[in-house]
């Protein structure tokens, strides 16, 4: 296999890692105002993702860095082109990250309400906008002969890409509810389970519509197989949660998101950013890539360290495998115990 293909695949893997992992913590963040009945339940929800959200987000940073190194042209065109949506995502991720860490560090209702808003919007915006961005990448955007995006902001808001946004949003919501059903206990677990089923049904309808549209306009045989497999996984997850099998339910949305993203990348290949202009240039794995030497160095680094990352991240999930219920939440958290001045 060409090294450029290897790196296209690795970048797909990084995005799969990002969406399957941060997808559920986005879902948890958006569901917080709806699923939690009181402060203790809100804290249950936050504590299910507390130890892991940051590690999940690193998948995005590494995807960004790897694109910079392996496909500099792709990195430059994409991020300078999708400027405003990306800016919104960055702002959202900034306030959201601080919110998780600071919310429990001061005992005041106003303070917590403020950070709750930051968590909600900071999770909702990226969950929606990543789908819009990927919709546009697959659909193609105006890129001129100098590899510059020329479409402006409004061009990115087209029906197909907006459906893509709804797809990621609804999938992440269902994924988050599945995660909460798996990671909590008590009444909130039952509510999460019921919600996961309903959200999963909505997500299934939207996702199937988006994947069908993608397949008809941009698909290949292999993308069709991946999309079908993704749909099967999603339906399997729904059946599992219907039968109160939370682990399998979560696995269902996890695999569905992973295979869906894999299918999108397959539909994209060998382009990385197709152009819609007749006199423009489509960015491909070949014309957007770094040199063979750089790709070789990066491949060696990736082969050595990626398995290591997977091992210790998996271990974290094992350490924090305990289900959390309201009675696990300490009254005054050690965070602000004795710090009331």
């Amino acid at each position: 296999m060409e090294l450029t293909t290897v790196w296209f695949t690795l970048i797909a893997v990084l995005w799969i890692g990002y969406f399957t992992l941060e997808g559920f913590d986005f879902g948890v963040g958006i569901l917080m105002p709806f699923l939690a009945k009181d402060e203790r339940e809100r804290r249950v929800m936050i504590n299910t993702i507390g130890p892991v959200w940051d590690g999940n987000e690193v998948w995005l940073l590494v995807a960004g860095g790897a694109t910079f190194a392996a496909f500099p042209q792709w990195y430059a065109t994409l991020f300078s082109g999708f400027y405003l949506p990306l800016l919104l995502i960055l702002l959202a991720l900034i306030v959201r990250g601080v919110a998780f860490e600071y919310r429990a560090k001061h005992d005041s209702v106003v303070w917590r309400r403020g950070w709750d808003l930051a968590i909600f919007w900071g999770s909702l915006l990226p969950a929606l906008l990543w789908g819009v961005a990927f919709g546009n990448i697959v659909r193609g955007v105006p890129i001129d002969a100098h590899m510059q995006y020329t479409g402006g902001f409004w061009h990115l808001l087209n029906p197909y890409s907006l459906l893509g946004g709804l797809t990621t949003l609804s999938l992440f919501l269902a994924h988050g509810a599945m995660f909460l059903a798996l990671k909590t206990d008590g009444p909130i677990r039952l509510r999460a389970r019921a919600l996961a089923l309903r959200l999963g049904l909505v997500a299934a309808v939207i996702t199937v519509a988006f994947l069908l549209w993608t397949q008809v306009k941009h698909g290949s045989v292999s993308s069709a197989l991946l999309f079908v497999a993704a749909a099967v996984a999603l339906v399997g997850g729904l059946l599992a949660i219907l039968r109160e099998r939370e682990g399998w339910g979560f696995a269902g949305t996890f695999v569905a998101i992973g295979l869906g993203v894999a299918g999108l990348f397959t539909a994209l290949f060998p382009n990385v950013m197709p152009t819609t202009l007749s006199n423009g240039i489509s960015l491909t794995t070949t014309n957007a890539s770094a040199t063979h030497y750089t790709l070789t160095v990066m491949t060696i680094v990736a082969i050595i360290f990626t398995p290591l990352v997977l091992v210790y991240q998996a271990w974290t999930y094992w350490v924090f495998r305990q289900r959390i219920a309201v009675h696990h939440i300490p009254d005054a958290t050690p965070e602000y115990e004795g710090v009331t001045r």
Partner: protein
């Protein structure tokens, strides 16, 4: 303002802001790891109290370091896409490796450390914070290697066919001679920052508190000792750094000194006012021969001046590459900025070292100082290294101008051609506003937790009994 100005202001603001948190993260992670290890070794509860106290302050600081780092990963592509296309083959690699080797390590093991009290065995818990510290060092190494390449590009070849710089020697990029002096200089500065923070916070408690004074005195001495040792290291690494800079970026050295004409021997300027166009000096107070020594290692060495270097650069790189930026003509950085930032870096660092010595002296042999003026020393000590760090970076980045990559690409050629002034301005304004609000919140929280002081320990804290996974009791730690 045009696009280049806006993009530069954003890069400056977001990077200096990000770097307020980074050195403290590096310095405090090491200190907290040391404290936790000392607790495990000695079972002296004071160490555990300090671990928890400074651990909390470390986390308040770390949160902002992480989220502001996200912007750094993406703004090269957003605002500097021409730069990204030109250097991606070389510059992207260390960034990607940094993510894979360092960011995963830091974020994962910090999560384990925060939530892992009483869930992990004591030694494993302490290992987590040591691993976080190693992660911060790795992160620093790769990002500084990337920056050093911009100061002194090596291990690459310019390919006229693709019109970009292409890497042919990864190890040359990793062991760039600028990197080999920049990395120690930056890391030692981070330990200085951490030590000064600990000493300042602790001596404030010694002066103002009635309780736990013996504990804070110990912490103040520890912090001041770290800061003092680091100060010595800073002088040596800075000295070598200056000599390497003189060799590879002579204009930056000349600009640091406002040395307009070549001198042999050259005096070190303590105070110079030059004409605004950077052509000549008006008033100067100098120590003869000192600059020659700093730049070349000999009191009689020749140091090239701005005017001679400008002529040299014009011959080598053509007339005026970067167009309208700086000093009326192409190759000279903004002299007042480089001259004063260089002095402020050394000045703030130096005052920090003096205060550290004063603290060590006043707390010697069991003495418990209570001079009220010490309160002011306590408040200023943590801030001084932060200022020194910021001016250090302002100096090294402004001194590289008009180049984005020295000798290869000017800053004005590096910006994104497709981005509008409106987009860039919106980005600059929104990021600055959000960063400003977060700064107020962060400082507020920091002060609150500093005032609260070391926590009282419970039996669970000191015995580290690990409950089973299906335990029904409240968690030892929760948000």
């Amino acid at each position: 303002m045009d696009l280049t100005d806006i993009a530069r202001w954003q890069f400056g603001i977001t990077t200096v802001y990000h770097f307020l948190f980074v050195p403290l993260t590096i310095g405090l992670s090491a200190a907290v790891a040391g404290m936790e290890t000392a607790w495990l070794r000695t079972h002296n509860e004071q160490w555990l109290k300090l671990t928890k106290f400074f651990g909390k302050l470390f986390l308040i600081n770390f949160a902002l370091g992480v989220v502001t780092g996200i912007v750094q990963e993406f703004q090269f592509g957003m605002n500097w896409s021409s730069y990204s296309r030109f250097v991606g083959d070389v510059f992207g690699a260390p960034l990607a490796v940094e993510g894979l080797l360092a960011f995963f390590l830091e974020s994962t093991f910090l999560g384990l450390w925060i939530f892992g009290w009483q869930r992990l065995p004591g030694k494993l818990h302490a290992a987590c914070i040591w691993i976080v510290h190693i992660g911060t060092l790795l992160s620093a190494y790769f990002i500084l290697a990337a920056n050093s390449w911009m100061q002194h590009p090596v291990g690459y070849q310019y390919n006229p066919k693709t019109g970009r710089a292409e890497m042919h020697d990864f190890w040359a990029v990793m062991f760039n001679k600028v990197q080999l002096v920049t990395f120690p200089h930056t890391i030692i500065a981070s330990y200085l920052t951490g030590g000064a923070f600990i000493a300042g916070v602790a001596i404030w408690h010694v002066v103002t508190k009635k309780t736990d004074r013996e504990l804070y005195r110990k912490a103040a001495r520890l912090g001041a000792t770290i800061a003092l040792i680091a100060s010595v290291g800073i002088v040596f690494s800075g000295d070598i750094s200056g000599k390497v800079m003189t060799e590879v970026q002579p204009m930056k050295m000349a600009a640091a000194e406002a040395l307009y004409n070549t001198e042999k021997p050259a005096g070190f300027s303590w105070f110079t006012i030059g004409t605004p166009n950077g052509q000549s000096e008006k008033v100067a107070i100098k120590t003869p021969g000192l600059l020659s020594f700093l730049a070349t290692g000999s009191f009689n060495g020749q140091v090239r001046g701005i005017n001679q270097l400008r002529t040299e650069y014009q011959k080598k790189y053509g007339v005026d590459p970067g167009a309208k930026y700086y000093s009326g003509d192409g190759y000279v950085p903004m002299i007042p900025v480089t001259y004063w930032s260089f002095r402020l870096m050394m000045g703030f660092g130096g005052v920090g070292a003096l205060i550290s010595i004063a603290i060590l002296w006043l707390t010697r042999k069991g003495r418990m100082p209570d001079g009220r003026w010490l309160k002011w020393a306590a408040i200023s000590l943590p801030l001084l290294p932060l200022l020194a760090n910021s001016f250090g970076w302002i100096f090294t980045e402004m001194g590289r101008q008009p180049w984005a990559v020295f000798g290869l690409m000017t800053t004005s050629n590096a910006v994104s051609p497709g981005v509008t002034v409106f987009e860039a301005l919106l980005s600059l304004i929104l990021l600055t506003l959000v960063y400003g609000v977060l700064a107020v919140i962060e400082v507020g929280l920091m002060l609150k937790y500093i005032r609260a002081g070391v926590p009282e320990l419970t039996d669970a804290d000191t015995t580290n009994v690990r409950p089973p996974a299906d335990d029904d009791r409240p968690l030892a730690f929760a948000y």
